[in-house]
Symmetry: C2
Subunit: 671 residues, 2 copies
């Protein structure tokens, strides 16, 4: 039998279920520098005593805690927020204690209301204040100590005199707030875990990405270079994107190189897949000579930055048979009994142009260091965003270590996980540190599946660790919906991605040029995919969605509601081909309601039944909806309103919702 535990017995408050907390504190939550982190906790004591609950927080490199009182939400739940002042890890936990003075004060109010004798209670209160005075004195707050002593004396006088009025001086809020500063925390309970949040740059939360192949920016079907790609950048910048993301820019293997449309044998002039990384000219830290030199890359990156674009690189940890590592580090690859190196396969499929790295190698520590070195190399060259190819085929432990190390040294670096795989695997990658993640968005086309999936990824607990990146297409994904839906399908998917997702991206110019032909029926691969050949895009095609993309990106920038996902709410519409959802910014000044017709072939109309509370509107209130996409303005009132969308005109409304201002309401005048 164990002894009565020492020191613990009088800690009466319990703290449970602190959020965000991911896997019992194993992983850091996600935040953004400059934002607040909202923390909640259950806290309660035995009995009826009042308690005080505080949030403790600090950045990881600070020693001392800052402290913020938590406010009760009811049902023993408490909430506070703290500012994520800088990039990197911040730590938080919760502390709580029985608040004897506040308990006394609440009881006194009840005793007063019941006209009870107060002499003993006032003596008790005076005693509590004297204790608080002693604590104030120990804290060096002599003035406060004196004031508390004076209050104590006054209570003792009143105890003797029997003053019993409804607004008793002992209930003075000034006294309460003074006493609250010197609580008795001897038996305070500290939550058993210190939790972490990682504050990223805002681009981790809000950004429009544009993926393109620099080699397709040359004249005609000539191999483009970083110099020709520089000339392409204004086109991207004018459409309003924030990030340009390039497929791998490294030398491409010759052995077993794939030809157009993934042909097993390449012709002599075929450029090969950029994901078959490595040749005699170098590996993951080299630049494909046909794209130019390191200086060219820097010129490209600097031009992008001058246009307000960040460059994201693709990190794909796999090697062509010609990669220098194959000779330099054969121990990093798996060898077959016949002595050959094991190529990539997912039986019965074989990918003989690729050698996977063997993470079960005895030499895994050196391999890990080398892979981290690839990131460090490009960070050294000024890159701060990485899109990571197939992270789910490398060990979770590697990513956790590598991202942890890299972010410790470079907290502004952002990692996008390209893991199109099972949900728990995708979530694990997000938990262990990926800043953003590709999603199933491309395949969610019905309203119910958009609602359920987007709600899942934008609400806790998932939203505490997972940031969805919504991409209607990628070089690997040309969905059936885009193949068959024509221009309305492209516009609908663009608007969905860009308004439902604070982070979204397109692979262009294929997207804005409505490229929709699959390699073969039933395939999601593009015909004549840029993965295997150079394409000559007609950017001045009159059908191009470029103006729509530009408008959508401008709407995104101008409306803070669209800069975050945590306020996403769906609203019922009676036609199931219409999906309606809203977002608002935290202070409620900006609210956007999007309605999309998911049927690319038919006009759809119906009544939308707005959840007014999600929009900060009152029942029966009039408000203006201004379609930022189509330009029209309507005066709506109450929850039920009619919408009609002809997909051939414009398959979506993106309404900014304007309440009348106070003055406008007073004069019944509407802007």
């Amino acid at each position: 039998m164990s002894e009565v535990p020492q020191r613990e017995g009088r800690r009466r408050v319990v703290i449970e279920r602190v959020t965000p907390e991911i896997d019992c504190g194993r992983f850091a939550a996600k935040g953004v520098a400059g934002d607040d982190l909202v923390v909640e906790a259950d806290a309660f004591s035995d009995g009826h005593d009042a308690i005080s609950v505080v949030l403790l927080w600090r950045s990881e490199d600070e020693e001392a805690w800052s402290e913020t009182p938590m406010e009760p939400l009811g049902n023993d739940r408490w909430r506070a927020r703290f500012p994520l002042a800088g990039l990197g890890r911040h730590i938080y936990t919760v502390e709580a204690w029985v608040d004897r003075f506040e308990t006394w004060r609440q009881d006194l109010a009840k005793r007063l209301a019941a006209d009870q004798d107060l002499s003993v209670p006032l003596e008790v209160g005076a005693g509590l204040l004297e204790e608080a005075a002693a604590r104030a004195e120990r804290a060096g707050a002599d003035d406060d100590a004196e004031e508390l002593e004076a209050w104590a004396g006054r209570l003792r006088v009143e105890a003797a005199a029997g003053v019993e009025t409804a607004d008793h001086p002992a209930l003075d809020p000034a006294l309460a707030s003074l006493a609250r500063r010197y609580p008795d925390r001897e038996h305070a309970t500290r939550y058993p875990r210190e939790l972490a949040v990682f504050a990223d740059r805002p681009i981790a939360r809000f950004g429009a990405w544009y993926e393109f192949f620099p080699r397709s920016t040359g004249p005609g079907e000539d191999h483009g270079t970083f110099r020709t790609a520089m000339e392409f950048l204004p086109y991207v910048a004018e459409m309003g994107f924030d990030v340009v993301y390039l497929p791998p820019i490294h030398p491409i293997g010759e052995t077993n190189r794939k030809g157009p449309n993934n042909a097993v044998h390449a012709g002599p002039d075929d450029p090969g897949s950029p994901w078959a990384i490595g040749s005699a000219e170098g590996g993951h830290t080299a630049i494909h000579p046909e794209l130019g030199t390191l200086e060219d890359f820097h010129a490209f990156r600097e031009e992008a930055e001058s246009l307000g674009l960040e460059v994201a690189l693709d990190v794909a940890f796999q090697c062509s048979p010609d990669h220098p590592w194959v000779e330099e580090h054969p121990e990093w690859f798996r060898h077959r009994p016949d002595g050959s190196i094991q190529y990539a396969e997912n039986p019965p499929k074989k990918y003989e142009d690729i050698y996977p790295l063997d993470f079960e190698s005895e030499a895994w520590p050196e391999l890990w260091e080398a892979l981290k070195g690839v990131f460090e190399h490009w960070i050294g060259e000024g890159v701060r965003i990485f899109r990571v190819d197939n992270p789910h085929t490398k060990p979770f432990a590697f990513w956790e270590w590598a991202i942890g190390e890299l972010r410790e040294a470079h907290p502004g670096v952002v990692f996008l996980s390209e893991a199109f795989t099972r949900p728990k695997v995708m979530y694990r990658l997000a938990k262990l540190g990926f800043s953003q993640s590709y999603t199933y968005f491309a395949w969610r086309n019905q309203r119910w599946e958009l609602e359920s999936y987007l709600t899942e990824v934008t609400t806790p607990p998932v939203s505490h660790f997972f940031r969805p990146a919504l991409w209607p297409n990628t070089p690997d994904i040309l969905t059936e919906y885009l193949q068959t839906g024509g221009r309305p399908a492209f516009v609908a998917r663009l608007v969905l991605a860009a308004t439902a997702g604070a982070s979204y991206g397109i692979y262009g110019p294929a997207f804005e040029l409505l490229e929709a032909t699959p390699r073969e029926p039933g395939s999601e691969e593009y015909l004549d995919s840029e993965k295997y050949q150079i394409r000559d895009w007609n950017l001045s095609d009159g059908e191009s969605l470029r103006p729509v993309v530009e408008r959508v990106n401008r709407i995104r920038r101008e409306n803070p509601a669209l800069h975050r996902d945590d306020t996403l709410r769906f609203h019922p519409v009676d036609d199931e081909a219409l999906v309606a959802y809203s977002k608002k910014d935290p202070d409620g000044a900006n609210a956007v309601l999007t309605v999309v017709n998911l049927d690319p072939h038919h006009t759809r109309a119906g009544w939308v039944d707005l959840r007014l509370d999600a929009l900060g509107l009152d029942t029966g209130e009039s408000y203006q909806v201004h379609d930022l996409l189509g330009g029209s303005r309507h005066l709506w009132r109450g929850a039920r309103n009619y919408v009609e969308l002809n997909p051939n005109v414009m398959p979506a409304h993106v309404f900014r919702i304007s309440r009348k201002t106070r003055t406008e309401r007073d004069f019944e005048y509407f802007l």
Copy 2:
């Protein structure tokens, strides 16, 4: 920057979200000795490799783990179960690893199906089997080692010969199961926490309780004794109860004793409240002299046991001003500035007949020991069930320690928490060790609130730590529904409690005698409550519910479906005054469907829309429903069936559902 972590890098499998796990393993889950505990976990690896997952388990006093393979449920979730062979704590965790042989085997099947060359893969497989043989040899399994070597040799021969048939010998299930016994677990991942489950006696999960005041068992209004209470026991046993629970049996204080109906002053002959514990004749370990002696108590307890009844005592940690502790241990009470001891109050209410114990006393360690000593005393006198009065007004840490210590020494002891308070407080008490808990059941009268509340407390995560005890009434709770609903209300609440709750209880004879008059309008107190006076109950009242109670308890005993709460499912009915729910036993042999008319005043009828899967029935199947309460039998088919309940006849059906047996179906004969 930290070094590459050593030893960890090749642990590729991740284990998450093991259930049951309560507050990150802080508390033990609840189980019952003789039952299995079902454990689930998410487990997955990077890439496409097959994994193996095992559940590790042992009783707390065993050193060695037992091991059970976990089965995949899809979506990376795995499940296994282990037997709770004895009372007390059992420990479990999960381990998983990449299963190289199974991965190889699955790939081989795909290669075969694609008619690929197998020579290299077969060589690889032979290598894996040789490694397995070496592990078998190290484990001393020489025969298995030899057999694995033989298989390896055979694969090498076939690799050379090029045998490629669809049912290749390498796919022989015997080989797979042999190889599976010698896995390579060098890089296995162990879940980071060892979790605990506490196995209680079955009475913690299933039991019918009867609360009564022994002092009301005397002739007329004479003070009853344990001897007269013995004579009352057959009445309780014949109704089919399992537990008799007695209010406190200790000496009752004289100072500020309460009179009938909680009058502030008692008359000289008023017996006082049994919860005002302690007098010159003793405290929590003494017996009220008017009830008899310790020998009388033992005679009572033994008589109860001979009738199949367990005795539960009430433990109420509070003292009358006359309790011996007040003089012996004044330091265990709070003192007011005027020198008096602080009586109980919840301002403005005062309870001057009660002194609460001061858990903030400097002498709390001695106080804790003394309180634990009260349980130990009564355990020493043969009591194994305690109903704990107002545990939420004593520190959580005390209960966790006390229950932990007591259960370590006496794992069969059961604790019922009488905390009618806020939900998180009630749940915390359950987590820290209370075996059962009173609930809000008494105040859940509408269908929607019964459905939502009973679903909450019978499904995970709550059901992992909380066992609801459903009581339609207690000496403190005469609900408005019972006050106004007459006999149909009593029957409806009885049937609800006894069939929705595996644990339920009534306070009698008030309940079965339909006692329904409140002390005053709006009060839930009984008029002339037995808490303050002796009552003379007319047990032979012709209106008594005794036969109904007896039948309900017999139905409970005879139907294993009603012995547990985890299969509780609600079924839609189109009249909202009708509530329908079912339970079945784990092997599906017994299923009970209960339909209750919640309207005590009107006949209600409607169509019940059964979730056939919850009952183990197929669509379109015929089945018999036998009303064990009313006696009628009906042949139903499919989901929708009609029910009609006249509350004045019988406000509930308790149907046993009988599928035709296999033989019966074959002959289209129906029992």
